[in-house]
């Protein structure tokens, strides 16, 4: 089984900051907007290097989203930065009308997504944002798994014309994808090849899925782990081809099971090749305060639960 090495824990939001800094130098049309969370979003380097292209809008996310939409008229590529909760639910109508329906080239960059925001609690831990964003026609939805991939995705979305939702997080997590690797929007990455069960994961749970695959391997179960960094458009072909081989699937995400990656996979499979599926996701609940590790354990979003679900879904194979 192919194994991956953690080259040192890093936060995905810093990957975004690094990517944005690089874009600042390579693409003069890139502008950045932030709603009073510059440090949290790691946008300081861009702001310091390009003060003329950095727009501090204050605690006014609705205004930020619509300003970003307007800035595209004349050729700018705005990157907005705030927490995932304030990037989506708080400003859904602004995104819907002024960005998605108007087909504006805005990159909505969202940090502190999911439970791993931690101690701030449920008011800030959005678990519905993937669903909100994927429901919008024309919206690309990306959830990256580590520092390197977040940086690569940040660079890639600047070259993609159209609205994008880029979701990443707060805590330092394993960094294991290649440095300066290629990021292809909508193209799944098969991390390990296997024959008994497919595990498709997104965001922070990709590393957990790899850990689960190791545990399963020790039990003699061969797991195919796929990193679905782009939830929309979904790489349906990669998923269908994998389950044709394995016959069952586990989806893993730091999101409610309603509206997330799991549902997109289930719809795809129901249409093309009905397959037993188990969901590693929050179960229609809000989060709460705690450390990221405690929360992932309590809500079953870790390698241990992915392993259990994999064993369960294998038993459901006919």
């Amino acid at each position: 089984m192919k194994t991956y090495t953690n080259t040192g824990n890093k936060d995905t939001r810093s990957g975004f900051g690094a990517g944005l800094e690089e874009l600042g130098n390579s693409n003069e049309n890139v502008v950045a907007l932030c709603a009073d969370l510059t440090g949290s979003l790691k946008m300081n380097a861009f702001a310091d290097a390009h003060p003329d292209r950095f727009f501090q809008v204050g605690i006014a996310e609705a205004n930020m989203m619509s300003i970003a939409a307007g800035m595209t008229i004349g050729g700018k590529i705005p990157f907005t930065g705030t927490f995932a909760n304030f990037s989506t639910g708080r400003v859904y109508d602004q995104i819907r009308q002024s960005i998605a329906y108007s087909d504006k080239n805005v990159k909505i960059c969202a940090s502190h997504s999911g439970l791993t925001l931690g101690e701030d609690g449920a008011t800030h831990q959005i678990l519905e944002d993937i669903g909100l964003m994927k429901m919008l026609p024309g919206m690309t939805v990306i959830n990256t798994c580590d520092f390197n991939q977040t940086k690569a995705a940040t660079l890639a979305i600047a070259d993609h014309h159209g609205p994008v939702y880029l979701r990443f997080g707060r805590p330092k997590v394993a960094n294991f994808t290649p440095e300066n690797g290629e990021f292809k929007i909508g193209k799944a990455v098969i991390l390990t090849e296997g024959t008994d069960v497919t595990i498709v994961a997104t965001g922070h749970l990709v590393w957990e899925a790899l850990e689960a695959a190791k545990a399963l391997n020790e039990k003699g179960i061969s797991a195919e782990v796929i990193n679905i960094h782009t939830i929309k458009p979904l790489d349906e072909e990669a998923i269908i081809n994998s389950v044709k081989k394995t016959g069952c699937i586990v989806t893993a995400e730091e999101h409610n099971y309603m509206g997330g990656l799991g549902e997109s996979v289930a719809r795809t499979l129901a249409q093309h090749t009905p397959t037993p599926q188990e969901f590693v996701a929050t179960q229609d609940t809000f989060g709460e305060s705690g450390t990221p590790e405690q929360l992932l354990e309590k809500y079953g979003l870790n390698a241990e639960n992915i392993t259990l679900k994999a064993e369960a879904v294998i038993k459901r194979k006919k």
Partner: protein
């Protein structure tokens, strides 16, 4: 001898008439850019006539043409709304002078539409429900064929109930309808103009009821704090909204004081349905622009202006006239430039 004199007199009269005709034709402005293409600044007529006389002639012809256009646009508005028995005539009729003036007297714009709008003045309609007046003015300015007004609110049309970019209608740069977003969009476009070294102006239009949306005040705060001085936001102060007068629904208070407190320069146009007043107001606003402060025009209009039974009431915010009411409305607004 007398016969010859009479003949000469008639000839002179005919010549004067022809001259007047030529002048009114040449100096009306269906669109500034079109005029500039058709009649260069060094046109022979300009050299052969005393400048002051020419200017007066031109202004008179301009105003008359704008007033003709207003009458025609008002016909278009009620006809569009009547044809599909839906839409928003009240605010459309009230804002007719303003939007006609913008597109035919004020803005430097190009009907061969480019989304980027570089080196052009831009207009964003934030209160998108008054789409009938917007569509009519765009059509008359040459953005799309006037006949397309027949498709307003119909299936497979580019003229959606509320304006959108989605169907690719030339002249529309942002979807609007959900209220309160257009000022922010205008700020964004104005900021990009500054980044691009583009010295043109961004205009937005908002309903007064729309000011009840909180985002407007987020935008107002941002624009002054960041010296967005290439933005002119106009508020259609007609005192009406769907449920009643703005005073009964949620009173707006002193708008001048509010905008001034938010750091804006405010221009009041008390006669927002008088073409000369509207033009003067917008020109005053432009003269105040680029002085590190955003500009707001408080445009006092009468909802439903030009159709007596629709005037001054919220009742005609969003309902269509029946056949008899349409006939009456058309009678009050003569056909000047040809119905679509």
């Amino acid at each position: 001898m007398i016969l010859i004199l009479i003949l000469i007199l008639i000839l002179i009269l005919i010549l004067i008439l022809i001259l007047i005709l030529i002048l009114s034709k040449l100096f009306t402005k269906p669109c500034k850019s079109l005029i500039n293409q058709n009649l260069g600044k060094s046109h022979w007529l300009r050299n052969y006539l005393p400048l002051q006389l020419l200017t007066n002639f031109q202004e008179m012809a301009d105003i008359q043409h704008l007033k003709d256009l207003v009458s025609q646009v008002r016909r278009d508005i009620v006809r569009q709304v009547h044809a599909v028995n839906s839409g928003h005539p009240g605010g459309s009729l009230g804002c007719t002078e303003f939007i006609v003036a913008l597109y035919n007297e004020i803005m430097d714009h190009d009907p061969s539409f480019q989304m980027d709008g570089k080196n052009q003045d831009l207009f964003f309609l934030s209160n998108g429900h008054i789409s009938p007046v917007f569509y009519s003015v765009l059509a008359h300015a040459g953005y799309f064929p006037k006949e397309e007004l027949n498709t307003f609110r119909k299936l497979n049309s580019r003229l959606q109930g509320h304006p959108t970019t989605h169907e690719g209608l030339p002249g529309v740069r942002i979807a609007s309808g959900s209220l309160g977003q257009g000022m922010s969009v205008g700020i964004g476009a104005a900021l990009t103009k500054k980044l691009n070294g583009d010295d043109k102006t961004v205009f937005t239009l908002h309903g007064d009821g729309e000011l009840q949306e909180g985002q407007i005040w987020e935008a107002a705060m941002y624009a002054s704090a960041n010296h967005v001085d290439n933005l002119i936001a106009t508020i259609d102060v007609n005192g009406q909204q769907i449920d009643g007068s703005t005073d009964t629904v949620l009173t707006l208070g002193d708008l001048r004081k509010k905008f001034e407190a938010f750091g804006w320069n405010v221009v009041t146009v008390s006669k927002g349905n008088d073409m000369e007043s509207v033009i003067a107001g917008i020109k005053e606003a432009i003269s105040l622009s680029r002085k590190r402060t955003p500009i707001c025009i408080l445009l006092h209009t009468v909802m439903g202006h030009g159709v007596d039974f629709m005037m001054g009431s919220h009742e005609w915010h969003g309902i269509a006239p029946n056949d008899e009411q349409l006939a009456e409305a058309l009678k009050q607004n003569p056909e000047t430039l040809g119905d679509y």
